[in-house]
Subunit: 203 residues, 2 copies
DNA sequence: CGGGGCATGTTGACCGCGTCAACATACAGG
DNA sequence: CCTGTATGTTGACGCGGTCAACATGCCCCG
């Protein structure tokens, strides 16, 4: 940081902007991200970001995309082991998903909040979210082949699963759920119910 | 509320504000709601709304509350016929929920978007959303007693069900779901899977 | 029946914000 | 070294939320 102050040029302002915006979002919400504020935090002027992003929306989109990538990485990590009861592993993925949202509520909100991100379709965002879906579809397909999940369009099942965890995450971070309920237990129950509904019981 | 309409001189501005704001939200999103714009639409000045709401957030909260009431009424209506295959009736409730969101995307977004509604807890909003949850809990309790849904805390099950439909609604209106998929079929599949997971199979 | 008080509506002003245009500066490659 | 381009700065504009001061009309009290 002291280094920045010394040079007229920042070095890697673009990356810094994304990081700093994410930090501000975590600290005090997306509304607190202001071109002026973020510039001042990084020791640059309010106009500087415009050399790297066409407008504020584009910057926020970049932050959202970074969020999707982090979430994706986290889910991938929990996916690694050909672990025990593979349904249990799938359950754990859902748990990680919700936990991510709880740990980064404002960031998660931004990722899914079309409102904050202009009306236009943002291809980058779509791609990042799409990657998440693809991973989920792959995992489901594997479990189908193991006969642990009923047949049918794995993509549709992925959407159902995504809906369940996203809905729970969303209700939790918007504080629509009684704070007295045991969150861990609720997460477990949600994933359990979901997997119960998807389980193959043809034989 | 019978004779309220004729009170004071320029009609019932408060109610008009809520209605007009809701209309503007439907037409062009919450961002388009401006004190100046809404005033001009109603033929009053930009300051007039401040005689009825302390600030813009309060007005939007009122709109959101109205949304919850409408949604609640709609779900209640689909609840009436207690005769048909009762699980099918529950499924239909979920369907109505998602359909409401699809028909009023911006309004629905506002109802759940804490971002747009200040950080403060809005007791009115909490109450309206709480009523929705209560209704759901009641319905689930009935189905439990009929042995169609497994035992356990009905409140937790209500949260699970709410998560599923809210998640699907949210993903749909944020356009996170491939437009090529059959929405009706996806709704059906989601509610079906959910109910499958909740179904009592102890005997 | 008339005046006063209060609820309601209006206007001017302020500040913060996103954004653009004009300007300044530094780094790179000849 | 010198200059062009990428990068950063500053001034200005318009919009939007909000407050304070002012205006207006309705109802109630005397």
């Amino acid at each position: 940081m002291a280094e920045r102050a010394r040079t007229y040029h920042h070095g890697d302002l673009r990356a810094s902007l994304v990081d700093e915006a994410a930090a501000m979002i975590s600290e005090s919400g997306t509304a607190s991200v202001t071109m002026r504020a973020i510039g001042s935090r990084l020791g640059v002027s309010r106009g500087a970001p415009y050399r790297h992003f066409p407008d504020k929306t584009a910057l926020l989109v970049a932050v959202a995309v970074a969020g999707f990538k982090r979430l994706n990485r986290r889910l991938g990590a929990s996916d690694t082991g050909t672990s025990p009861s593979s349904v249990e592993q799938l359950r754990r993925m859902g748990e990680q998903y919700v936990r991510f949202a709880l740990e980064h509520p404002a960031h998660y909100r931004l990722m899914y909040g079309k409102e904050a991100l202009a009306r236009q379709d943002q291809p980058e965002l779509r791609k990042a979210a799409g990657a998440l879906l693809e991973n989920l579809v792959d995992v489901i397909r594997v479990h189908q082949q193991r006969g642990e999940i009923e047949g049918g369009d794995p993509r549709a099942q992925a959407y159902v699963a995504w809906s369940a965890v996203h809905g729970l995450a969303s209700l939790l971070i918007e504080k629509q759920i009684d704070p007295n309920v045991d969150v861990d237990e609720l997460i477990r129950q949600t994933t359990q119910t979901l997997l119960g509904g998807l389980r193959d019981r043809s034989p």
